[in-house]
Symmetry: C2
Subunit: 435 residues, 2 copies
């Protein structure tokens, strides 16, 4: 049985998908049953990395969706609109959709899932998070017996590339960013990556699957790496830590039957102990750590972006739908694991009530007794400290780095205000989370 | 809809599965549709870590299989027989099977798969390799669009625990083994683990799935860690390597349409460069690296054994079958991805034709010119060398460690025979593969 595929978009990922479909040899034999029927492109005349018969090309995405020979619609155009509307149109036409569009899914996932459930079709999104790393399917299917405690990961390759080079070379953020843009690892407008928005989209998606309910994307506390100082990367290294942009979604409530389920979902630069499994993730690679009961800790690692890896994930989704199609069966409904309908109401907790360890860099006077005053200040405010180290500052002052034990965020912020008010303290130069 | 589960075995893994089924709260809601109907145990009177209503217990595995209320049979007894016969009986009764039994699947996988395909049921084996790590399902479903080049991994926790401690403490193999046995990390009869047989079972299974055809288990070249000398672990560390027991299955033929497909499948202690993704896998953890086109390199990491992780994998398989059952659909066949029928004929190549880098430790006379003679000897035999380092030997002699570049195994062996015949060389003390 041949299954007709329609592509919306023929950029890097789209071309990667077409390349796999065009060379099924040596892959799962089901790939040989997939036939590219129609491809929507913006400009018919543009040269492409892959040869596509010109009669398959059209500038109308609607024509692809409406083509009766197209059974599965693959959306790899990116952007919010018209991508969202086209996905909904494909669903309305009774066609399953495969998309790599994390921005659309993070924002309109609920609307899209409801439409898909109503129409009895799948919307699969393996390529939306972690590039080629199988993470969506394991979360939906392989880890379903677990109570997930925490999902955390390095899920933005651009920032991990920048942070890796800052750590290796002691280079400044702006210099590495400029270089990354020159090399094509960062976009001309890097905001979505460096400000953490892309990672927030992805952790919203992972949290929704891990905990079984949609997460309010706009409520995710998001801090990027764009204000990160090379000094803090260097000091962290001296203290045995690596700085990574971490996206985290964790269960706050320990109750097993919490309704709604309280989650702490956030994105921020984080100091990881050097022996932490995520600390060794270099360059544009991604990794996602899933902690659950009773599995413990499992990690998924690999290339977080790129034509080949992302196309591999898109084709995985196409194969899943094709596999179910091949089963036949009159009046079959949806596989509840693959369809990933939600079963739980999740709410994001107020960040001030959450608990964390912190790294603080203070600019202080270079005189005796300052460390004592800072230590006493934190202690009186009920913040217990793991270490205080003085580094040589610039321009006559000193720099003092404090690493706290775990403390409630609101208490920590109150303590920090007290410390900042000390006559010996000129200011708080940096404040980062620590694992 | 409730789905009846029958358990064959109530040891650590069986009890772990029963514990998940007994507490569905906070897990995927499909877990709540699974009902434990019957459990076969060896001794009805034995105390157990989990309370099971006594009317569910029986000493007859056949009674579990034949019980009409049991729809999915979970085999967690281990051992070759009666496990194999019971799996076949369940298939014959038209029931899908979930098993953690790598020994049975590695040896009788073809027979079992043929019976299951004929009867239209699934035999799922996520728990057979890598404990709680989702690796079987990603190989079958998420990476199907790829041409797999290599699957390599640390898939035996006992040996990795021993090797980690040998590296960390400089301890001797026999001492760490004895300690591991005392702590329960190694069995009283450790042969299957330390001689590599367990890893060979598992790589046979992974290769069969990755390349789409069964692999002759008995033809897998297998070397364990039981003759590994602490000196080599220490020398490797000085040279920037970590010694791991690696299981590897790689495509030898570069042709995409090779029939049969030539594979090199093997298990042996291996020197990994310290920055290699598998080098950081410590203790009883497992990790599997899959390299394919176009995905590149993805890695799956986590606890390779234990009640909780293994039960998580067993329940994943149960859920997959339950999910498909919930779809309904009259006359539905099998999902070809989940059923993982074979599509390719694989043959194992003769090891002498494969190419590897090697680590050799020679016992030599402690006199000038020896390194030169060894270097010349290898060079004349066409083996190019990356490094030769002399270490201080015991009892007046010297120890010379040679690391070769990649060389065909037969050529390397011939060269080594020449070297061993040199008057200055007292013997080959160790010979290990190197990545």
């Amino acid at each position: 049985m041949t299954i007709g595929i329609g592509l919306l978009g023929l950029g890097t990922v789209g071309a990667g998908v077409a390349a796999i479909l065009a060379s099924p040899e040596g892959r799962h034999p089901l790939v040989g049953h997939l036939a590219l029927r129609r491809v929507a492109v913006r400009d018919l005349g543009r040269p492409r990395p892959i040869e596509i018969p010109s009669e398959l090309l059209t500038t109308s995405p609607e024509a692809v969706i409406d083509d009766p020979a197209v059974e599965i619609v693959v959306e790899v155009m990116g952007g919010l609109e018209p991508a969202r509307s086209l996905i909904l149109r494909a669903i309305a036409a009774g066609k399953s959709v495969v998309t790599a569009n994390k921005a659309v899914i993070a924002r309109y996932g609920e609307e899209i899932a409801a439409a898909a459930a109503e129409r009895g079709v799948y919307v699969l999104i393996e390529a939306a998070v972690g590039g080629g790393i199988p993470i969506i399917e394991p979360l939906k299917q392989s880890l379903g017996g677990n109570r997930i405690q925490r999902v955390s990961g390095i899920i933005n390759g651009t920032t991990n590339y920048i942070l890796s080079r800052m750590a290796d070379e002691g280079a400044a953020y702006a210099d590495v960013l400029a270089d990354a843009q020159r090399l094509g690892y960062a976009e001309a407008d890097p905001a979505a990556d460096v400000q953490g928005g892309d990672a927030a989209d992805k952790i919203a998606i992972l949290a929704g699957l891990a905990y079984g309910g949609p997460v309010e994307r706009s409520a995710i506390a998001t801090e990027g790496i764009d204000r990160l100082d090379a000094r803090d990367v260097a000091y962290a290294a001296q203290l045995g830590f690596v700085v990574k942009l971490l996206a985290v979604a964790e269960r706050v409530d320990s109750s097993e039957v919490a309704a709604p389920l309280a989650l702490d979902v956030r994105v921020h630069p984080t100091l990881l102990p050097r022996q932490h499994p995520l600390a060794g993730v270099h360059g544009v690679n991604n990794a996602i750590l899933v902690e659950g009961d009773p599995v413990g800790r499992v990690m998924f690692y690999g290339p977080g972006a790129g034509a080949g890896p992302t196309a591999s994930a898109v084709v995985a989704d196409i194969l899943n739908i094709a596999g179910i199609r091949q089963m036949g069966g009159a009046d079959a409904g949806l596989d509840p694991l693959l369809a990933a309908s939600s079963w739980c109401r999740c709410v994001l907790v107020d960040g001030s009530a959450t608990h964390h360890r912190n790294y603080v860099r203070l600019l202080t006077r270079d005189e005796a007794g300052v460390i004592g005053k800072i230590g006493t200040g934190f202690g009186q405010a009920g913040v217990s400290i793991q270490s205080i180290i003085q580094f040589e500052g610039q321009g006559g002052g000193a720099e003092i780095v404090v690493i706290t034990h775990e403390v409630q965020e609101s208490r920590f912020r109150a303590a920090l205000a007290t410390i900042e008010a000390l006559a010996e303290v000129d200011g708080v130069a940096a404040c980062l989370r620590t694992l």
